[in-house]
């Protein structure tokens, strides 16, 4: 579904992505794992067209995404840090996104909004919200339009255990519908029962792309966190 071919991106002297090629298909739930500054977010942003690679290209359903913007109607994105205009109320943010994407899909999926209890906070101004509540808004926005692809950058960071469990259940539910889900996360223990594939990155290079079973077999570890720890040694 999303294919990156030999993507390289440098920021000044730093090589954020070094000849990365990756193939993400429908129905997969992929965890992007790697130390801080390994290029995970840059890879995600390249897929969204927010960062333009120096060389290499990315295709979405066999169409090059360069100079294309329509494909993004099929992606739901949850950024690492969600900040919204201070004077907007939660209700306005949802209304605005619906207005902006109204011709993309017919029905909206408001399950997360109710699950997080945001429907009772609709009148609250964005500037008064805690970091966790803002994360809940970001997550709800990503799932709102029933997109075929979900790209979640550190989705559970800043969420309380209850909320992150809700989000995890939602991910599993969407995965079963055959959607492609891409997650970057540091909290590996939470990914065990969600993830089907692992992409490991380091210093801008893609170290490996394996299925979870393969990784478990290779390392002899059942838990994802332990398997990764073994590799990092």
């Amino acid at each position: 579904m999303i294919i990156a071919s030999n993507v390289t991106k440098t920021f000044g002297k730093l090589k954020a992505l070094d000849n990365v090629s990756v193939m993400c298909s429908k129905g997969q739930t992929i965890a992007l794992i790697g130390p801080n500054g390994s290029g995970k977010t840059t890879l995600i942003k390249s897929m969204l067209g927010m960062v333009v690679p120096d060389s290499g290209f990315i295709t979405f359903d066999e169409h090059n995404i360069l100079h294309n913007w329509n494909y993004r109607s099929r992606i739901g994105y949850m950024p690492q840090i969600g900040r919204y205009p201070d004077n907007m109320r939660i209700g306005h943010v949802f209304e605005m996104m619906k207005d902006l994407r109204k011709n993309s899909t017919a029905s909206t999926d408001e399950e997360l909004i109710t699950a997080f209890g945001l429907d009772k906070l609709m009148h609250k101004k964005m500037q008064t919200l805690s970091g966790g509540t803002r994360q809940k808004v970001s997550a709800s926005l990503a799932f709102l339009f029933n997109p075929d692809v979900l790209i979640l950058d550190e989705p559970t960071a800043g969420l309380d255990p209850v909320a992150s469990e809700i989000l995890k259940q939602k991910m599993i539910q969407e995965k079963e519908k055959g959607k492609l889900i891409l997650i970057t996360s540091h909290v590996l223990s939470e990914l065990d029962d969600v993830v089907s594939e692992i992409i490991y990155m380091q210093d801008g290079q893609l170290k490996f792309h394996k299925s979870l079973e393969q990784l478990q077999e290779d390392t002899g570890q059942q838990k994802l966190a332990k398997a990764i720890a073994q590799i990092m040694k």
């Binding site: 920021f11 329509n70 994105y77 840090i81 205009p85 004077n87 907007m88 306005h92 902006l100 970001s138």
Partner: protein, 256 residues
């Protein structure tokens, strides 16, 4: 799509505390200046100085800070099915519209109520141009510099340059070449600076250009003519469009 975006940017901005304070401050100043003196010409003169200094300052600094503070939100919007072009132009339009609205309430309406002459109209139009032009310059400054503190510094410097340094340089030039006839180059130089251009247009309408001697007469001849007026307005339009256009080109290529 753009209209929707602009609507939400404006809705957010008109509730912004700084915009509200700015509107109220302008209103207070204009009503104050008109009620201090029976002679509205004096009121227009004092207001002109306010308009040509405060308006560029607030427009450029507020817009720069707004763009930096919205960077995460701009990122999120860039991940939506929107063209970068409409996204950037919506932010620009929203800013320019809100600041213009503040100016119209604070200065425009009082001027048209108390004065209502052609001079008043020229003043209001100049103020609107200053708002639009300096919002555009702010966007260019903000998109060119990644660092927020540096970007705000650049914005302040640009304001300082157009309202003060530029005039200083022109004066310096004038003294250096005082033996030569400089009226024509002076016209050209003042056309390059939107603030100077507005000031000349207002002063000429106030009919006090006679006080400026021979240079004033040359200016009056040029800017008073249909051609001069047309050219001035054209240049103000260019100043409104060119910085925004450059910022747009930069934004379309920018890594967010």
């Amino acid at each position: 799509m753009m209209q929707t975006m602009i609507k939400y940017v404006v809705l957010d901005l008109i509730k912004n505390r700084i915009i509200l304070v700015y509107t109220f401050f302008l209103l207070l100043m204009s009503v104050g200046m008109f009620s201090m003196d029976e002679n509205t010409t004096k009121g227009i003169m004092s207001l002109m100085n306010l308009v040509l200094i405060i308006i560029p300052l607030v427009s450029i600094i507020f817009s720069t800070i707004y763009v930096y503070n919205s960077s995460e939100f701009i990122e999120l919007l860039a991940a939506q099915p929107l063209k970068r072009k409409s996204l950037w132009l919506s932010i620009y339009s929203g800013l320019a519209l809100s600041l213009s609205l503040a100016f119209m309430i604070g200065v425009g309406i009082p001027v048209l109520l108390f004065d209502g002459t052609l001079t008043g109209w020229v003043l209001v139009l100049s103020g609107l141009f200053q708002t639009i032009i300096f919002t555009g310059i702010a966007l260019l400054a903000a998109v060119k510099t990644r660092d927020k503190a540096k970007g705000i510094g650049v914005a302040i410097f640009l304001w300082f340059f157009f309202t003060l340094i530029y005039d200083g340089l022109v004066l310096l030039l004038l003294f250096q070449f005082s033996d030569y006839p400089l009226e024509k180059p002076m016209i050209a130089l003042s056309m390059l600076n939107p603030v100077d251009l507005s000031r000349i247009l207002i002063l000429l309408k106030l009919d006090i250009s006679a006080l400026m001697g021979y240079t004033g007469a040359v200016f009056s001849n040029f800017f008073g003519s249909g051609f001069g007026m047309l050219l001035s307005v054209l240049i103000l339009f260019l100043w409104s469009a060119v910085p925004v256009w450059f910022s747009l080109k930069q934004f379309q290529r920018k890594d967010l």
